[in-house]
Amino acid sequence: MRKRHKLLKNTFALASVMTLISAWWGVTSLGLVRPLILPSPAEVGLGLVDIWHGYLGVPFMNHFKASLSVMILGYLSAAVVGVSIGIGMAWIPSVDRLLSPLVSAIRPIPPPAWIPLTILWFGIDLTAKVFIVFVAAVVPCLLNSYQGIKSVPVDLLNAGRSLGATRKVLLMEIVVPAALPVILGGLRIALGTAWATIVAAELVVSLAGFGFLIMNGYRNLESNIVFCGMLAVAITGFLMNFLFLRLSQKLVPWMPSEK
């Protein structure tokens, strides 16, 4: 029964994607729109080959490495810092009082708004981009960790205390595991935000990376390259999210799996 359900779902998914691609192919091959506005699937395919071998002299893997190394460094440091501060604020009232004004001040600034200032501070090298990813990712990590800890059911705390848990045991063995699904939710949001922000930063100023690729295609009026860059961003983003979900299912085996 479940197998049949899955088959049905896959059929629908395939149908919707195929419809979109055939519409795209139909519209472009009939010449209904100019190639600059919408390149044909074939042109995008050629663009992919072009990029793989090195569009404007930069091989594809260099773009990939450029975007991904920034992503990993910035995201991981944001995860460590954001989750620790979020937990610290939720668990220790004085830390909350000390840091919540700062968090409230930074929170409403959309991550891309940091880009110009960061370039002024750090230039356009790795540090600058890592910083931007960090700023983008740290806020959702922190907020969700805080929220997750604060929303641990009071009965679980009472159960722990009545079984003799000290404050440290309570935090490590009850509060953090109970909040883990919400914390992971924050890490997942942060992954998306960080990825969006790094691409935005590369659009503004960069020497490599997917954003750079998209922007160069735009400047040279090669919309098929723009499409290829976007496709690469989408696929990489999808894979990161997929890996993250797989990993978090390992971390919270007691939760019903998410589809």
Binding site: P153, D155, L156, N158, A159, R161, S162, L163, G164, A165, T166, V169, E173, I174, P177, A178, L180, V252, P253, W254, M255, P256
Partner: protein, 273 residues
Amino acid sequence: MSQTKLGERNDLVYEDVCMDFDSAAGVIRALDPFSFHIQGNEFIVIVGPSGCGKTTLLHITSGLTAPTSGQVLLGGEKIVEPGPDKAIVFQNFSLFPWKSVYDNIEFGLRINGVPLADRQRLVVNAIQLIGLDGFEKHFPRQLSGGMQQRVAIARSFVMQPQILLMDEPFAALDAQNRQLMQEELVRIWQTQKPTVLFITHSVEEAVFLADRIIVMSRRPGRIKEILRPRDFMGELTSHWRTLPYDDVIRRIDFQELRAQVWRLVKSEIGDRH
């Protein structure tokens, strides 16, 4: 001899205990000052209308909440903080969802430094006692409500508490499970006989289980009446809770007591309207 000693150790004494809460509308009195003595190994069931301070009383006894004034003594010692000598079983089970059945029951022993070998023996015994052999590795989510509450009871009993505090433990179960669990609880309780403070909305449950039934008034909570089911059992040599539930509820004396308790509870609910 040892029985008497054990009893004294588990005696629960309330001395002028009173509880007020601050709220937007001012100070609300949850419990009027009261004094009360519970014998060690007694099975006390508390009934009363919603909001009469039953749960507050339970929290004060557990040490989770400090009373506004007065004190509670357990075996002569003032209760100042929660701990494994005062186990709680919650209405919503409150098992740790990320721990297996085995790990849930082992948790209290482990954090209190019980050696591994003893832990294993105690947990295996507890799992046998509640009849969940084979479910050691299951997560709580994979169990029925009744099974989850068995695990919660085992998690408490494995600590060999002096008092067991139960806050409407079977209210979330369906009628059949509830009845089974009442019989089960009596069986498990008899292996250790801690002092029990059991809160319920079910008059029938109270009459079946209790050594003494405490009927509380509506807010501010006061002890309205105390009844001893033993006084109603006529020719029975042992408490009717050890007999099959179905047989007991058909007894005339059981039904009379049930009606009497219900009238007391109802008058407290009815007065409100």
